[in-house]
Symmetry: C2
Subunit: 343 residues, 2 copies
């Protein structure tokens, strides 16, 4: 199967095909990219020559000539974060089908390197998963750009997001319906836009339902959930339910409860936010607000492609992507007796 002579032959270019077919490079180019412009017989000769030479187009050369990169850049603060994997996959699917490459980079670079990424002629459009970059740099890129999940008002670009406040209300409503009257909200980082909206939604929901809501600080991490669990356990009376601003935080909260000998949901109901891949596999499986990450990624990529193809601007902020609460095993009615003491 291996043809050893191939190994030594240099890569054929369009001129080789033209020579083999006895036509000009212009004709080869047309036959390949716009066959309708070329005569039947000529086209056949060109195709034969392509076959014979093993020619494949050099996209880099074509792209330079056409002054485009056929490439999307995804910028995320932490490429290893499992939250982003699904989004990458969705974007790559849409982009790949349209013939665009997908480039990924960490967004937490020193500013000159970061700025360069949007200015080096190797990217047509940008997907931003980080709301904490310098707006001057972001707005300095003259490329179509969308923000996903998180956003920054100072970026001059539309954002594809859920309605985080409404989503948080879903969580609080669920707890209220189960019969909980006193609940805790473990917040995200104080200055984070998602955290602010989720807290606002939780507060609005609690007020509307006449619930007593206690705020505990957090930062989306598992550790902050553990800390919050200890604080919660020290409260008297103990709220019977907790709404954490992220799944990670909820995992930490539950793990610390287990360490303290308290059970979820028997002693306390816990709701998370995001519905990361792992939420359904946790023990107990986590009740949480689903962020449709695949859909957000798909919509973002499609809007970018539309802007690229149509030469149209991206348009304003999109309407929120619908979300929903996924009820699993970590929530239940409040204990009828007072919570069991620490054993």
């Amino acid at each position: 199967m291996t043809r050893p002579e191939d190994r030594s032959r240099r890569r054929p270019k369009i001129a080789d095909v033209a020579a083999t077919a006895g036509v000009s490079t212009a004709t080869v180019s047309r036959a390949l990219s716009n066959p309708g412009l070329v005569g039947e017989a000529t086209r056949a000769r060109v195709m034969d020559a392509v076959e014979v030479t093993g020619y494949r187009i050099n996209s880099a050369a074509r792209d330079l000539r056409q002054r485009r990169a056929r490439s999307l850049l995804i910028l995320a603060p932490n490429l290893s974060n499992t939250f982003f994997g699904t989004i990458f996959a969705a974007i790559q699917k849409v982009a790949g089908e349209a013939g665009l490459a997908v480039q990924i980079s960490d967004s937490r670079l020193e500013s000159s390197r970061l700025a360069t990424l949007g200015h080096d002629g190797r990217t047509d459009a940008i997907v931003l998963l980080d709301g904490a970059l310098d707006p001057e740099i972001v707005n300095g890129w003259r490329l179509p750009l969308v923000q996903l999940c998180e956003w920054n008002e100072d970026y001059d670009a539309p954002a594809i997001t859920i309605d985080n406040a409404a989503a948080a209300r879903l969580a609080v409503d669920h707890l209220a319906q189960l019969g909980h009257r006193r609940i805790v909200h473990v917040e995200g980082p104080p200055d984070n836009v998602l955290a602010i909206h989720r807290r606002a939604g939780a507060q609005a929901g609690a007020t509307a339902r006449g619930l007593e809501l206690t705020l505990l600080p957090g930062d989306f991490t598992m550790e902050s959930g553990e800390t919050a669990a200890r604080r919660w356990a020290a409260m008297t009376p103990r709220p019977t339910a907790v709404f954490c601003a992220s799944d990670e935080c909820a995992f930490g909260f539950i793990a610390e409860c287990a360490a303290m000998g308290l059970a979820v949901p028997a002693d306390v109901s816990v709701v998370g936010f995001d519905d990361v891949d792992f939420a359904g596999r946790f023990l107990p499986a986590l009740t949480t607000v689903h962020q449709p990450r695949a859909e957000i990624g798909r919509i973002g990529a499609e809007r970018l492609l539309a802007a690229l193809e149509g030469g149209r601007p991206l348009g304003p902020r999109a309407e929120p992507v619908p979300t929903r609460l996924v009820v699993r095993a970590s929530t239940a009615a409040p204990p009828t007796t007072s919570p069991r003491p620490k054993q």
Copy 2:
């Protein structure tokens, strides 16, 4: 801060800088990429002109001229798999510092599209995370290529992996030391190289320790772990420990035990394989074999860079990356009494 005139100005090119500085484009090019070749005063004039015009190099043009892409392509069977995130991050870190872009693509494309990826002049080297691609396609790419974690003997490329058999022995040795005498191994997919090596290691370890080893089929998924748990529960006498070929499988095994009213590690000790991010957060935290994914990614990227810079070949298969067992809460000494019956 926004300079509105910037918005309308077209992107400056090297000729604009040359005109502004009153030198040739060759001189601008040299001043930027090889300042030592240019006179002090000229260099200063060029730098001023760069500043004034806001020039940034067009990498696409430079790359075409230099006949390279300054880009690495990562191919993975499933971009959303959390297993790969850490590897992406490690590769991007190494590549980014060397000025290379990182492109990602799903490797499960129809073959013509897949083949094109390695032939379109937009990639200098390939990182392969999939051992199930057509060897003819893979070997047809005339680019430096490394396989990571998984490998295929038919690919003409080195693989950076752990010694899966030795790693599996670590797991079995641990269970033996805890006092387990009868253990189960839940296998991976029958034709998967990793599964084959892990099983062989488990068998060798069991033989060396004089343990009784029962094999149960699996395929690395959580569902297969659940199925295995039911099979295990039906065995008499029940083995007191299980070594699963993947963490996912172990999560499923444990979840199904919980559903059956059996506790880990009280009723059965469970060991996984991989040490995915979630392993330490599971309840109970999972004892597992650590696959150093960040290091594997780093080593792979570094070897590729070395081959690219030196023009040297990649060399043969690398020696295995060291691994270790991470002991957490899911393993303990076997129950002294016979296992509790299903309640």
